[in-house]
Subunit: 136 residues, 3 copies
Amino acid sequence: MRIVQKDFCISTKNRNELIDITSQVSSVVRQSGITNGDVIIYCPHTTAAITINENADPSVGHDILLTLEELVPHHRPGYRHSEGNADAHCKSSIIGCSKQLLIKDKSVVLGTWQGIFFCEFDGPRSRTVKIQIRGE
Amino acid sequence: MRIVQKDFCISTKNRNELIDITSQVSSVVRQSGITNGDVIIYCPHTTAAITINENADPSVGHDILLTLEELVPHHRPGYRHSEGNADAHCKSSIIGCSKQLLIKDKSVVLGTWQGIFFCEFDGPRSRTVKIQIRGE
Amino acid sequence: MRIVQKDFCISTKNRNELIDITSQVSSVVRQSGITNGDVIIYCPHTTAAITINENADPSVGHDILLTLEELVPHHRPGYRHSEGNADAHCKSSIIGCSKQLLIKDKSVVLGTWQGIFFCEFDGPRSRTVKIQIRGE
């Protein structure tokens, strides 16, 4: 059993944005030399998240952000957090700050249409993604 | 440390549906012979998800689907994805495509009322569930 | 590779409440003696959840609970579950009953502002949190 930990950085350009990080994660997995196991993709930020969804048609990402903005408006009567980004914190807890994927035959196991996305909800910012791979 | 990977298939019958897969997951865990560790239940589809919730009263599943349909309507002005299932992609990201459970004494650790559900949001379809068990 | 399992109990005081359990989780990780690996924080209840979010400003927790109550009202026309806590079950599936964190140099890896919260949606109650640590 081996454990490999690696971080990488991304720069986001908009307040709300989905950034496809599938190739970065796949690359870290390949370089680890691990054949079977799993990979955790962890976001150490409280106004961002990680999700798995379709990366063939960029409209899907658009529609996810649209839905989240309708459900969690930027300004809601009653918000107490004074930094003006209460909505971003709420979206982070709804989507979740980490995801876990399987590794088989030295590759990340993804469905035909699945990609891995970093979800920015309070950009633009410089962000870190933490990767941990475990396996044999 | 051993890693056991296994898939199983299910057929969904409705557009939105929660299917209790607790017995299939428990069976794969028992057959693995692993005493202590964890199990990842992974959905490789972008219009479906996995959740843990009450499986004693089927009303709970009904109320979860009702809530999701109220929050994420099938047709929302502004959706761009042309396949007519933007809502299903959004629900998948809100609920999440995988869950992780503990294994103790050769059994899946579940609370008194907890069961494992495959969440179909764009059925009916044939679906695959991927299971990975790690432990000793 | 070692696996350490430990439970702890908490008492919640309100129907909806976020309780910071970062110090309890960190303490279990330190006592495990594991240097590198991960920790699963698992809630065995169907009307509660686990989330990671800011614990510096308590307004953030307030705003998350406010948002969830706006999205998932206590009484929604159409709920079928007869115990009066259908909303709590829905919130549990939206937030998720477990989270996973990395362990590095014998400590839980958390971003600057991140803390670990037990989310009570149907309190007050006595609740159990299950911890599993894996690593070397």
